[in-house]
Structure formats: structure tokens, C-alpha cells
């Protein structure tokens, strides 16, 4: 087709359409694909915090000491006993919900709010707490200390 037979308005209109359509396709596809591609890349923190969590690394704790870590939505207590074994329990006191701590001098778990005492298995041995603390499983994975919920029988 001879170019000089095509009126100027039609060419500019065709251009406009091409720009809008082409640009629109590219822009809209980009705005759809960009989130999807980012979604596909796994985040740096791969754990869900639901069933298991890395509480600490080997060497973080000294023997006969305890540390609070986050487990899901509640705090947990990780204890390294003097004989080298790890114990992990829920750190929420069963009395009124305060956060308990490990007492190296007593070698027991103590709640500072009302002087409740638990033994290292979580059993409530003295003071107001009405129930034992939930215990968790502890495994070593390389140099990571992994705490997981107890498997239901």
C-alpha cells in the first residue's frame, strides 16, 4: 500500500493504539509477573515456627544455664544441664502466665511472679502453679539445637 495514501491521522491513531496496547500488555504483564516471580523465591527464613525451631547453636549456652527462645507464638526455655544434656520446655508459667527462668543455684525452674518452682521435667513441685510445663523434644542437627513439639502418641 502506498504510504502517502494513508492519512496522517490514521497513522498516528495506529501508533497510539500500538503504544497503548503494546505498552499496556507489557506493563500489565510485568505488574502481574513481578510479584509472582518474587513469590517463587523462597524467603531466607525457611522454618514456619509451628512444629520445630532452631533454638540456639551449640556453644551458645554454658553448662547449668538456661535461655529463652521463641517457639511459635510463645516463649520456650532451653536448658543445658551440667551433664551436657539439653532440655526444652514451655516458658509460660501455668499459674498466671509469667515467663519462667532457669535457676542455676537451685537447678530448678523458677517463676519470679509468685515463687512457683518446677523440676527439670517441668513438673510443678512447689508454689502456686497448678500444672506442669509442657516439655519439648530436643535434637542436635550439626551445630544447631532444634526444638520440636512432642509427637502425639
Amino acid at each position: 500500500m502506498c504510504a502517502d495514501h494513508i492519512p496522517q491521522t490514521r497513522t498516528t491513531r495506529r501508533h497510539a493504539i500500538e503504544i497503548f496496547l503494546g505498552g499496556g500488555v507489557l506493563a500489565s504483564l510485568a505488574s502481574f509477573l513481578y510479584p509472582v516471580l518474587r513469590f517463587l523465591v523462597p524467603p531466607p527464613v525457611a522454618d514456619l515456627g509451628g512444629d520445630e525451631v532452631v533454638a540456639a547453636k551449640v556453644g551458645d549456652l554454658k553448662p547449668n544455664s538456661g535461655e529463652i527462645f521463641r517457639f511459635g507464638s510463645r516463649p520456650g526455655l532451653l536448658i543445658l544441664q551440667s551433664d551436657g544434656t539439653y532440655r526444652a520446655l514451655s516458658a509460660t508459667c501455668t499459674h498466671l502466665g509469667c515467663t519462667v527462668q532457669y535457676r542455676a543455684d537451685l537447678r530448678q525452674i523458677w517463676c519470679p511472679c509468685h515463687n512457683g518452682i518446677y523440676d527439670l521435667s517441668g513438673r510443678n513441685v512447689s508454689g502456686p502453679p497448678p500444672r506442669p510445663l509442657d516439655a519439648f523434644d530436643v535434637h542436635l542437627r550439626g551445630d544447631e539445637i532444634v526444638v520440636s513439639r512432642k509427637r502425639e502418641a
Binding site: 491513531r13 495506529r14 497510539a16 493504539i17 503504544i19 497503548f20 496496547l21 503494546g22 505498552g23 499496556g24 500488555v25 506493563a27 500489565s28 510485568a30 505488574s31 521463641r70 507464638s73 510463645r74 516463649p75 499459674h95 509469667c98 515467663t99 519470679p112 511472679c113 509468685h114 515463687n115 508454689g127 502456686p128 502453679p129 497448678p130
Partner: protein, 422 residues
């Protein structure tokens, strides 16, 4: 039964065998219940002589095999009052109040006897009772004071672990109040009778009777039960210290401890009262009606300045925590996920609680240490809330850009359609 008799008669057995058989049968029919003439008559009588077998069957003593005659003497097998309630059978009648502790103690202080029923039961109640105000006054001849049956009830005594027992922790205060809240009964003793009413407004009552927390204190927790004596003025904080360990430790090392002791002031009770203990508030450090510091201290002195510093720190942390809570709430309702910051708020609140405990050291610097820990956490959470809102705004900008792209596309499509159809 006729068959049995005929059979037995058929064998021409001795009459005593038949009699034994009938008695055994009667015993079988009335299994577990020996003939009890006391209850048979007294269950039909009105109070105060009335005791039904229904009532007595609830009694722990009845369940362990004791009966009326175990305490009252007499002969339960006879329906003849002169025999059943005769002196030959050792009938004691209504036990004189002054003799009740010794009567109960005749078993309950005997370890060898009690061991046969429940080896873990204590046997020192009588000895403790003798040291109590009630015991001493009784020995001096006052029969208005409490004896065993006033607290433990009589004829339907339940173990303290039974929720219906008058000495179950939940019911103890009510039991004590039967005398101690009766103004006319207690008139001659010159002690207040508002303790029960005050206790019912307290945070301990709320924990025990309302929330069912059996570890919360009632009258006997602080005053003792059998050896009931109010703790001495200088011993109050020992009692509180059993549960409120940290506060007591700090208080013991503080300036107030020595001063209160010298002045004969009752420790914790000075600021917190004794029976009507309410949830403490930061206002107690203030100058309003609930403020306690200025009752002794002069405005502008060193202690007043410390008070002001502590109060302002606490208020600051409390305020920051609330601010962070609000920011997180707004972020959450805008759809942002802030559960980690919410969890961290618990730690900030723990720090505030700790700071409030540290007040009992009466050292502003120590309180400030705990406050700063909390401030760091609360400030971080506030920032998290604000960051969430910034992220939310970013999302809206992203959405806007996406809309622009879609709008371009829609315009393009429309133009193209128009062109096709022209």
C-alpha cells in the same frame, strides 16, 4: 427362706445354727449398716437433737466406720433410752465445749491411731490449737471462742479437699466470718469485724473464690489454722514473702525495712493494707487519694524526688507500651501481619511488671534499669507498627502502578476494538 429353714430343720441341726443363719441373713440384708438406735431415734427429732443418717453418711468419720458412740459413748444396739444413753454404756451426752478439743484430740493427736486411717494426716493440730488465741482463751474459760466443731462442722465433717467442706480453702473466709464478722458477738474483744468484708474486695479473694486459683491466700494462709494467731507486726513481711519473694527480698534490703521495724510499723501492710489488698497501681506513687508515699514523706525532700522519678519512668514505659499496642492494632486492622511484634509486647509488659516489683527496693536507679529494658522493646515494637503502616502504603503505591498499567491496557483494547469495528 422357708426352704432353707425346712432344709435345716430337716437335717435336725442345732437351733443355734438356725439363729446364726437368720442373724447372718439379717446382717446381709442390712449390709454395711449395723443397728444404730441413735440415728433411728435422732433422725426423727428436730434440731438441735436431730441428726439424719443422710447427713451423717456424708461425714468422713462415718465413711471410715466410726459412729455416734465413738464420740458420744452409749449403746447403739439398744432402743431402750436408759440403756442406750446410760452411764453404764459410758454415755457422754452433748460434749461440753471446753472438752471438745481434747475429745477430737484423743484420736487426732495419736499418730499410732491415725496411721491406721491415713498415715499422711498431721497429728499436731491439738498442740497447735493450744498455742492459738482461741486455744488460750478457751483454757482461760472463754467458751465463745472457736473449737474444732465451729470450723469443721459436726456430724457432716468433710475433708478439706472436698469443695463442700467448711474448711476447704474457698470456704475458709466464710467460716471464719461467722464469728469474726459478727459485730455484736465480737463486741467484748475490741478487735475489728470488717476483715471479711474487706477481704471480699481484695485481689486474693478474686483469685481464690472467683478464678478458682487454690494457691491464693485466705485467712488461714496468713494467720494459721489450728494455731491461729495474727502474725506479729514485725513478721508480716515474712508471711507475704512466701509468695511475693522478689518484693520481700528487695524490701528487706531497703531503707524502709529497718525504719518500719524500729517504728513498730507492720511492713507490707503500711502501704498495701492487710485484708482489703487491692491490685496495686502506679497511682500509689502519686499524690492523689491512693498515694502512699506522701503520708510520711515531705514534699520536695530526697525521697519525694525519687518518687517522682520512679513514677514518671513507669508512666513513660506504660505509655510507650500502649502507643505500640495502638500502632500494632491499627496495622493489624489494615491487614498487616505483626504477630512477632505483638509477642514481643509481652516481653515489654514483663519488663514493666519487673520494674514495678523493683519499686520495693526504693531505689530509683534500680527501677530505671528495668524501665530502660522495657523501653527498648516497646520502642522497637512501636517502630514495627509504624513500619507495617509504611509497608501498607507501599502496597497501595504498587497497586496504583498496577492500576495505571491496567488502565493503559484497557484504553489500548478499547481503541483497538473501535478501530476494528470502524
Amino acid at each position: 427362706m422357708a426352704m432353707l429353714r425346712n432344709k435345716v430343720c430337716g437335717f435336725a441341726a442345732p437351733r443355734s445354727t438356725v439363729l446364726a443363719g437368720v442373724v447372718a441373713l439379717a446382717a446381709c440384708l442390712g449390709y454395711g449398716q449395723a443397728v444404730n438406735s441413735c440415728v433411728d431415734c435422732h433422725s426423727t427429732m428436730p434440731d438441735p437433737l436431730g441428726v439424719t443418717s443422710d447427713k451423717f453418711s456424708q461425714d468422713i468419720h462415718a465413711q471410715k466406720g466410726l459412729t455416734c458412740t465413738s464420740c458420744h459413748g452409749g449403746d447403739a444396739s439398744s432402743y431402750d433410752p436408759t440403756v442406750a444413753m446410760g452411764s453404764k454404756a459410758g454415755f457422754k451426752g452433748k460434749i461440753d465445749r471446753r472438752k471438745i478439743p481434747d475429745l477430737c484430740g484423743s484420736c487426732h493427736s495419736n499418730p499410732n491411731l491415725m496411721r491406721q486411717y491415713d498415715p499422711s494426716l498431721r497429728t499436731d493440730q491439738l498442740a497447735e490449737y493450744h498455742t492459738s488465741v482461741h486455744g488460750k482463751r478457751l483454757a482461760a474459760g472463754d467458751t465463745k471462742v472457736a473449737v474444732c466443731i465451729d470450723c469443721h462442722s459436726v456430724h457432716d465433717i468433710r475433708p478439706p479437699s472436698d469443695p463442700r467442706s467448711t474448711v476447704n480453702p474457698v470456704n475458709v473466709a466464710t467460716t471464719c466470718s461467722r464469728c469474726h464478722a459478727d459485730a455484736s458477738y465480737m463486741k467484748q474483744y475490741g478487735i475489728p469485724t470488717d476483715q471479711f468484708a474487706k477481704y471480699n474486695t481484695s485481689v486474693h479473694h478474686d483469685a481464690l473464690a472467683v478464678r478458682g486459683d487454690l494457691s491464693a491466700p485466705t485467712c488461714t494462709t496468713c494467720h494459721g489454722n489450728h494455731g491461729a494467731v495474727p502474725p506479729g507486726v514485725d513478721k508480716v513481711q515474712n508471711v507475704c514473702a512466701n509468695c511475693h519473694v522478689f518484693q520481700a527480698q528487695m524490701y528487706a534490703k531497703s531503707t524502709h525495712s529497718k525504719v518500719f521495724q524500729e517504728k513498730g510499723l507492720p511492713g507490707c501492710v503500711v502501704c498495701h493494707t492487710n485484708h482489703g489488698i487491692h491490685m496495686p497501681s502506679d497511682a500509689m506513687l502519686g499524690t492523689g487519694p491512693t498515694g502512699v508515699c506522701m503520708r510520711c514523706h515531705a514534699p520536695g525532700d530526697h525521697c519525694d524526688r525519687a518518687r517522682v522519678s520512679i513514677l514518671s519512668n513507669l508512666t513513660q514505659l506504660d505509655g510507650t507500651i500502649k502507643q505500640a499496642d495502638d500502632a500494632l492494632r491499627v496495622a493489624e486492622s489494615s491487614g498487616m501481619e505483626v504477630s512477632e511484634a505483638r509477642l514481643s509486647q509481652d516481653q515489654a509488659r514483663d519488663a514493666l511488671t519487673k520494674a514495678r516489683v523493683t519499686i520495693h527496693s526504693f531505689q530509683a536507679a534500680l527501677v530505671d534499669q528495668d524501665i530502660q529494658v522495657g523501653m527498648k522493646i516497646a520502642a522497637a515494637n512501636l517502630k514495627a507498627g509504624k513500619d507495617a503502616m509504611i509497608e501498607r502504603n507501599h502496597r497501595r503505591i504498587g497497586l496504583g502502578l498496577c492500576f495505571v498499567a491496567i488502565a493503559i491496557m484497557l484504553v489500548g483494547l478499547w481503541l483497538y476494538i473501535r478501530k476494528l469495528e470502524s
